[in-house]
């Protein structure tokens, strides 16, 4: 019994540390930048007592950008954690298996072909993500779903959609700069409208994912055991894929093709809190928020005055991590 208690205590401590990291990320992201803002002024600004340019910077630039970073981190991490369970594959991630590419292609189509209709980017990205997920399922379906086939189908779909994105960028080469930044994934100039786009999806996705955590736990025991315990395995996969696609699409529509968050965060969280999804999902959400906030802060301050898109930093960290997992797990 002691071992169980201590492991519960350990998970609790890790979750508290993650929550503390979120606070650190929040403070760092608001205070650091071309203008340094003392920590005390954050509280003044939030309580409405601040004034002057610092107040303006916090309320109009830093705070909304920080919130977007946190929500994007939550969405991508939850999406990756869910995909890893339903595909029983440690390498599953919305970016790697092509769901993000689907969102990216339709999002860029709207951006390049329908200028002035930016409000359509999110719904289009969602349709693209669901379309890619459906394609991957249909291609991978052969007497049921096998995880390896999903990954391979995802890689193929991703390559196909990537070709579409490249073609669009060549045809619309005059407007390509905005799309290019979007391909990499970045938070530059993200503000309150973007917060409004993403937060409903974060809330709904988080609630649905947590409700499904028991089912994800059962799914990890393998299809036969899960079916023997009365779980509708195929239905669970379809529903949870839709939730993962919704989370990924809403993140992509706001920051573009930000990769590797959904791969690194759930993995690191799994190492620290274990594979029980009742802890893994909240842990991934907190850690994901902290990672993207801190990474963005670093990316925009480290090479000042040049602001690096956070996607570049995530790829630099994520690609070696992916290779590390590849060597360890397969």
């Amino acid at each position: 019994m002691n071992e169980v208690k201590s492991s519960l205590a350990r998970r609790g401590i890790v979750l508290i540390i993650f929550a503390a990291l979120v606070v650190v990320g929040l403070v760092a992201s608001i205070t650091m930048g071309s203008v340094r803002i003392p920590v005390g002024e954050i509280i003044d600004s939030l309580s409405g007592e601040g004034a002057g340019t610092h107040q303006q910077i916090i309320m109009n630039i830093r705070l909304p950008r920080t919130i977007v970073a946190a929500l994007v981190g939550v969405n991508l991490s939850l999406s990756g954690a869910i995909l890893q369970a339903i595909m029983k594959n440690p390498l599953a991630d919305p970016h790697i298996i092509g769901i993000s590419s689907g969102a990216g292609l339709t999002g860029i189509m709207v951006m390049l072909m329908l200028p002035g209709h930016e409000y359509l980017v999110t719904p289009a990205a969602f349709v693209g993500a669901m379309g890619a997920a459906t394609c991957i399922y249909i291609l991978a379906w052969k007497n049921g779903i096998r995880p390896v086939r999903i990954i391979l189908a995802g890689v193929a779909v991703s390559a196909f959609l990537g070709a579409g994105i490249s073609a669009l960028m060549i045809f619309y080469s005059d407007k390509v700069h905005g799309a290019l930044m979007w391909m990499v994934g970045g938070l530059a100039a993200r503000s309150w409208p973007h917060v409004e786009i993403i937060y409903p999806y974060t809330i709904i996705g988080l609630i649905l994912a947590l409700l499904g955590s028991k089912h994800l736990n059962i799914l990890q025991l393998g299809d036969e055991i899960a079916k023997g315990l009365g779980l509708n395995v195929e239905m669970t996969r379809v529903v949870m894929t839709a939730i993962a696609a919704m989370l990924a699409a809403s993140a992509v529509s706001v920051v573009g093709l930000l990769g590797f968050v959904g791969l690194i965060v759930p993995h690191a969280t799994r190492l620290l809190v274990g594979s029980d999804y009742r802890f893994l999902l909240p842990g991934s959400a907190l850690f994901g928020a902290a990672v993207v906030m801190l990474s963005d802060t670093f990316a925009r301050t480290a090479f000042a005055p040049t602001e690096l898109p956070v996607g570049i930093l995530m790829a630099v960290l994520g690609a070696p991590f992916f290779l590390f997992l590849l060597r360890r797990e397969l």
Binding site: N2, V4, N217, L229
Partner: protein
């Protein structure tokens, strides 16, 4: 609690695995399913437990078609343990056994925690795993691990327990330990046990009835005493075997040669 299959036909990727099988399993008894590799023994168990619902014909539980019962209700009445199950590396025995309560939980409604705790407790005790409760399942020896999976199935509090080769890969001591647990559960709780067994001597020692599967169908069914014969072994397995009684009066067989 009678479980029966009527006109059961199963095709997997176009090839017929089972054809027009009719079989009734006697309630409260231990039945062993034996037969050559690829005869469709595991396939039969998966259809009986609705793990594989892609079959023609009917599976009836107390006369009711299991298609009409619903997955979770089936899992409250029939538990199945497939071959070589895997768990994530950090799942403890206690957590694994608790997963056996999943059929009693739903997306919204919480289950009865007291009933859950009692069922888990009981399953852990009956499989002699009390001191292993906090150990990681995948770190246990083969025999202990198999007992943990059986405990998970028992926590479902089923009327019928289906086991697919529960003793494969175990040494002889752990094999007997697992079979004794199954025997005790069947005896003490009148739980119907239907098990695919590779080792015919185990079937002879631990089963009340044998169902022999060959050529996509039931070749013979009955008590070991009634149906076991040198001819049956030759026809089903292509093996010439000696049959004799051990010190307990149980028939055992020793294969001698292949029938050419």
């Amino acid at each position: 609690m009678a479980l029966e299959a009527k006109n059961l036909t199963i095709k997997i990727q176009g090839s017929t695995i089972l054809h027009d099988v009719d079989v009734t399993f006697t309630p409260k008894k231990r039945t062993a399913i034996i037969g050559p590799n690829g005869a469709g023994k595991s396939t039969l168990l998966k259809a009986l437990s609705f793990v594989n619902p892609k079959y023609d014909g009917e599976v009836l539980l107390d006369g009711e078609n299991i298609r009409a019962i619903g997955r979770k209700k089936i899992s409250q009445r029939i538990a199945i343990l497939p071959q070589s199950p895997q768990a994530p590396p950090d799942v403890t025995v206690g957590q694994l056994v608790d997963f056996g309560r999943f059929p009693y939980r739903s997306f919204i409604r919480a289950s009865d925690p007291k009933a859950d705790r009692e069922a888990v407790e009981w399953a852990i005790e009956r499989t002699h795993l009390v001191e292993y409760r906090d150990r990681h399942v995948m770190s246990l020896s083969g025999g202990e691990r198999q007992r943990a999976w059986i405990a998970m199935a028992l926590a479902q509090e089923p009327e019928i327990l289906l086991l697919d080769e529960p003793t494969t890969y175990l040494d002889i001591g752990h094999q007997l330990e697992v079979m004794n647990i199954v025997e005790e559960i069947n005896r003490d709780y009148e739980m119907t046990v239907i098990m695919v067994l590779h080792d015919i001597n185990h079937a002879l020692q631990y089963a009340d009835e044998l169902v022999v599967i060959k050529n996509h169908g039931v070749f013979a069914q009955g008590t070991p005493k009634d149906i076991l014969s040198v001819e049956l072994l030759a026809q089903v397995f292509g093996v010439r075997a000696d049959i004799f009684k051990n010190s307990q009066g149980v028939s055992v067989l020793s294969p001698v040669s292949l029938v050419r």
